[in-house]
Structure formats: C-alpha cells, structure tokens
C-alpha cells in the first residue's frame, strides 16, 4: 500500500517548517506519520458537512485594551539571550549577496 506521506512529501513539509531533517529522519517520519495519518482517517466516518469548526472554546472574541504606552521589556534584557547581538540589535549572518544590488 502506498504511504500516506512519502519521503518527498516529508522533505517538502520539512522545508516549509525550516527543519533540516537527516535522511534517516525523513525515512522514519514517513513511516510513523503515515501510521498516524492512517489513524486520523477515522474522522472521515463522521458527517461534518453542517458542523461549524470550533477553533477555541471560550465565548470571547476580540480583546481590546486602551491604546496607551505601558512599560515594556528592557533592551538589555531582551538581548540577553540572543546568540549574537550588536549594540541594540540582534545580529544575523548577511542575508544578501554582494552582487544582489541591495
């Protein structure tokens, strides 16, 4: 029987999720996730055509507050856990090539 989610699909999804999976992980996830997706097929036993989706259980919608300035996280504290920072900025590797014209 064809797998519910083959290795090509696992790789495609992992790329969307920015997860660099090893070949071994791809193979294992394809098998394991196919078993899980096979199990969740049972949802199709239920007719849900006239059922509204329920995203969360509270009868609450938008929660607003007054648009006033309040205290926020101190810059030094916010940067404390950054792998790299420069002055008051998070530092990352260069994201544009020399000849990209940027």
């Amino acid at each position: 029987m064809a797998k519910k989610i083959d290795e090509t699909q696992v790789r495609r999804v992992a790329k969307l999720a920015r997860l660099d999976l090893t070949d071994d992980e791809v193979a294992r996830f394809s098998t394991q996730l196919s078993a899980i997706l096979g199990y969740v097929e049972k949802l199709n036993e239920l007719d849900t055509d006239s059922v509204e989706p329920l995203a969360h259980c509270l009868p609450m919608h938008n929660v607003f507050r007054e648009d006033v300035i309040t205290e926020s996280l101190d810059t030094e504290l916010a940067l404390r856990n950054a792998p790299q920072h420069f002055e008051s900025f998070f530092k990352v590797p260069k994201i544009l090539d020399e000849d990209s014209g940027a």
Partner: protein, 492 residues
C-alpha cells in the same frame, strides 16, 4: 521527624509555619534532604535553587516572627514545571534549543506564588516542549516513576508528579494540553487538576497548543489542589484568553470543600470505559460504589464522538505547535548553529540541532495538516469534530453534574515500551484529551493500586468554570478512602 514533616499537606504545613511551630527554613531543608537522597534516582528536577529557597524561607520566617501578615502558601516549598518562565535560573522546556535560556520575566503564576509567600525550590523535568506522555522526550534527563523505577512517571508533567509523589516538594505546577497534568498524576498516585481553559493565565507559559494549554496544580491531596487554585486562578490582562471576573468570578475553592454535593448525578460512558484494562476498570467500579454509598446516582450515557478525540487532537495540537514553535529561529534566543552557509541555514540547522525527534515529528505533522491542499481534509475536519465532541459534553451535563472515567487506560508503562511507536504513545491519552478539546476542568485523583502496586487514577470532568464543585466531588471520594495517603516505598 523529617518524614513526619514531609507527610504534612500544604495546608497543614502552612498552618504550622504561620503558628510558629515549624519554620519554613526547616521545611525547605527537609525537602532538600529528600531531593539529595532520592533525586539522583528519580530525576524529577532539571534545576534546584537551594540557596535562593533558604533565603526566601528566612524572609518568610522573619515576617512571621515579627507578626506581619503572610500569604496562603506561607513558607511552603513548591516546584515549577520547567516550561514556565522564572526570572532566575534557566527555563529549558526540556529542550536543547532552550538549554541556556534565561527568561527575562516571571510567568503570571510565578508572581502569584510569590505573592502567596510560597518558596520556589526548583524546576521539574518534562517531555520537550510538553510534547509526550512519558517524560522520555526530555532532551535533558530521564525521570522515573517513584513507585517503580523501571516505569515512566507519565508526561508531560512527569517531573512535577514524581516530585510530589516522592515528597521532594509539597506541591507543584504542571501544564496540561492533552492530559499532561492528569496522566502523570494518575501514574504517580497524586492529585492533578486541569482547570477550565482561561481560568489560569498562561502569560509566561511556553506555548505548545494555544487553544488547549492550561496550567494547574499537582498536589498530594484535593484540599491542596483547592488551596493552589485559590492562589493561581484569576484574570490577567497579559493573556487574552484569560477570562474576566465578570464572565466567571473566581471563588474560594476551599470554602465548603468538605461538604458533600447533595443529589449528585454522575454520568459514565460504559462503551468508552471498556477500553481500559481490567485493573483500571475494577478500580473504577469500586470508586463508583463509593459514590453510590454516598447517595450519588449513576447515569449511563453515550458520547459517540469521544472515540474521535485522539485523531482530532493530534491534528489540532500539532498544527498549533508548528505555528508556535516557528519562533525558535536561532535569531532572538535559543540555540544557533555554528557557521551557517546562508540565512536559511540559521533557521533550518539551528532547529534541526536544537529540537528532539518528537518535536520535529509534531512540527512536521502540524505543518502538513495546515499546508495547501490538506488544510480542509485534516485541520478543518478536526475542528469540526472538536465541535461534535463539545456537543457530547453539553448534552451530558444537562443530565449530570460530572462525568467519571479512568485517567488512563493502563497504569504506568515500562520505560522504552512505547517510545519507538508514536501512535501507541498517543493512544495512551485516550481519556484525557477530550477535556482539552472542550476546554473543561478535569481532575485525576488516586483510586487504587494494581497488582504490581502501581497507582490508578480516577478522572472526574465537570462543566466549564465549575472547579469548586469538581473539587468537592473529588473530596467526597477522598474523604471516604485512603488511597491518597499511600506513598511509594523506595528500594534504593
């Protein structure tokens, strides 16, 4: 003497400390002696803070000695699941990606515990990002069940449940997304309460499945669960899902706790319960007899959609997780890969190196369920089934005050037994998941031991925001039984 002290409830200890007959320092020292004796084996704690705890205890002892007023947990040593932010030490989530993360603020519940004069003693182990049912998914350490060191403590709040069971704290906080408070409480023979969604602020709780996550207490008895709820429940504007006091007023959960609920109607779902193993079913039957003898009426109901809860949950929870965990990008905090070739590798390699197998599996599944072409078939379908499950509860609660079922289909399973088969691990959550999908409060209390001397959990579910009644119903059973006084015996 130390043993006698460690066997006190939170409430008894608090009363002795405020009366000046025991000091908080003595209690903290006793707890640390227990940790030093046992935790090399049990592995409940990721980090402990003895000096800080002793200092906090001294401050509270001084307050009492000078006649100042103190909070409802005055001097009581409490442990915190390590997915709640503390402005001291690390908040690791049991993950390599956050191994060195020092939160810049306290979670709401930490502020509440502090204001109540609790003494925070350490952070407990968990399945990485609270994803798991055995605590075996922790990337940092292994936690064993204090009742049998060859078995799992349950999960994901396995460290909190093991710490309470082994009396290495007087109470702990856990978080529950699909049973992560109740299932380990059941496996470790302690009390675990998942409050109604929105009852306790999640500000500072590291997010996993945001429409499901809820913080709650793990304690040695029902009274202490009520006491902890008095401290942590209530509105917090920093969590937009935290309910206002207008919508659901907080109450004193200790008030009338020892009064039986008159005319109690309990619903059971025989077809659903039949899936549990024989030991568990026998304990359930005996527990229902206890309630019958107290005058309760047992009603058999059908809840046809409960059987679909696991399937709906593992699509909804993983979809939410895939979105929530996008924040671990190797840029703002957490692990970053060394020498990335380009900016995409900053993300993809940092995440690959930082996350463990179960987290990667769930992110992959959740991303798939949300991806173009699959969204309607999986995610949307699951949300519709979620509504059907909630409707089952609404109907049942028109006829009954509560529903009783097992917490888990089995007692604690062996280490390694399910870790290679994720689907089998997921199926262990069959009884706990529905409460999260429907946003309902549910409690697990000890109701017996199986032939191997492992604890069995009894689960009680009630309508949204009826924790007060739920705790009274649980206390009725506890008041007539002795299971909560049984302690694991260590053969070290």
């Amino acid at each position: 003497m130390a043993d006698e002290l460690l066997n006190l409830t939170c409430k008894q200890l608090r009363d002795k400390i405020t009366a000046g007959t025991v000091t908080s320092v003595t209690a903290v020292e006793a707890v640390f002696a227990q940790i030093e004796a046992l935790d090399d084996k049990v592995g409940a704690y990721i980090s402990t803070y003895k000096d800080r705890a002793l200092e906090a205890a001294q401050t509270i002892d001084r307050k009492i000695a000078t006649g100042k007023s103190t909070g409802p947990l005055a001097g009581v040593p409490v442990a915190i699941k390590d997915n709640m932010c503390t402005d001291f030490g690390e908040t690791t989530c049991g993950s390599k990606i956050l191994e060195n993360f020092q939160a810049p603020y306290n979670a709401h519940v930490i502020e509440k515990l502090r204001a109540a004069d609790a003494v925070l003693i350490g952070k407990t182990n968990l399945d990485e990002f609270a994803m798991g049912s055995s605590t075996e998914n922790s990337a940092l350490k292994q936690t064993l069940n204090p009742w049998d060191l060859g078995s799992v403590p349950g999960g994901s709040s396995g460290g909190s449940a093991a710490a309470v069971a082994a009396r290495m704290c007087f109470a702990a906080l856990g978080s529950d997304t699909g049973g992560s408070i109740r299932q380990p409480a059941g496996f470790c023979g302690v009390v675990g309460l998942k409050p109604t969604y929105g009852r306790v602020s999640r500000f500072g709780l590291v997010a996993y499945g945001s429409s499901l996550d809820q913080i709650g207490p793990v304690t040695g008895n029902v009274t202490d669960a009520a006491l902890m709820m008095n401290v942590i429940a209530g509105h917090d504007k920093r969590d937009s899902t935290s309910v206002s006091n207008d919508m659901a007023p907080v109450c004193n959960y200790l008030e009338k706790l020892n009064e039986d609920v008159k005319g109690l109607k309990i619903a059971i779902v025989p077809e659903f319960n039949a899936g549990a193993d024989q030991n568990v079913q026998n304990a359930l039957t005996s527990a229902l007899d206890v309630y019958k003898n107290l005058g309760a009426q047992i009603i058999e109901v059908k809840m046809p959609h409960l059987d679909y809860a696991i399937a709906a949950y593992y699509l909804i929870a993983t979809a939410e997780a895939s979105s929530n965990l996008a924040r671990y990008d190797g840029v703002h905090y957490g692990h970053r890969t060394e020498n990335p070739a380009d900016y995409v590798e900053v993300y993809s390699k940092s995440r690959a190196e930082g996350f463990g197998a179960e987290v990667k599996r769930r992110i992959t599944l959740g991303t798939y369920a949300l991806s173009s072409g699959y969204y309607d078939a999986y995610y949307l379908k699951a949300l519709k089934v979620r509504n059907l499950i909630r409707t089952d509860f609404t109907k049942t609660f028109k006829e009954a005050d509560c529903i009783i079922m097992p917490t888990s289909p089995t007692t604690a399973f062996k280490l390694g037994e399910k870790i290679e088969d994720p689907l089998q691990m997921y199926l262990a959550d069959i009884y706990t998941i529905a409460a999260n999908l429907a946003g309902l409060p549910a409690i697990s209390i000890p109701c017996g031991l199986d032939k191997a001397n492992l604890p069995i959990g009894l689960q009680i579910l009630s309508p949204a925001f009826t924790e007060k009644k739920l705790l009274r119903i649980a206390r009725m059973f506890e008041g007539k039984t002795d299971y909560h006084n049984k302690k694991p015996v260590f053969q070290l």
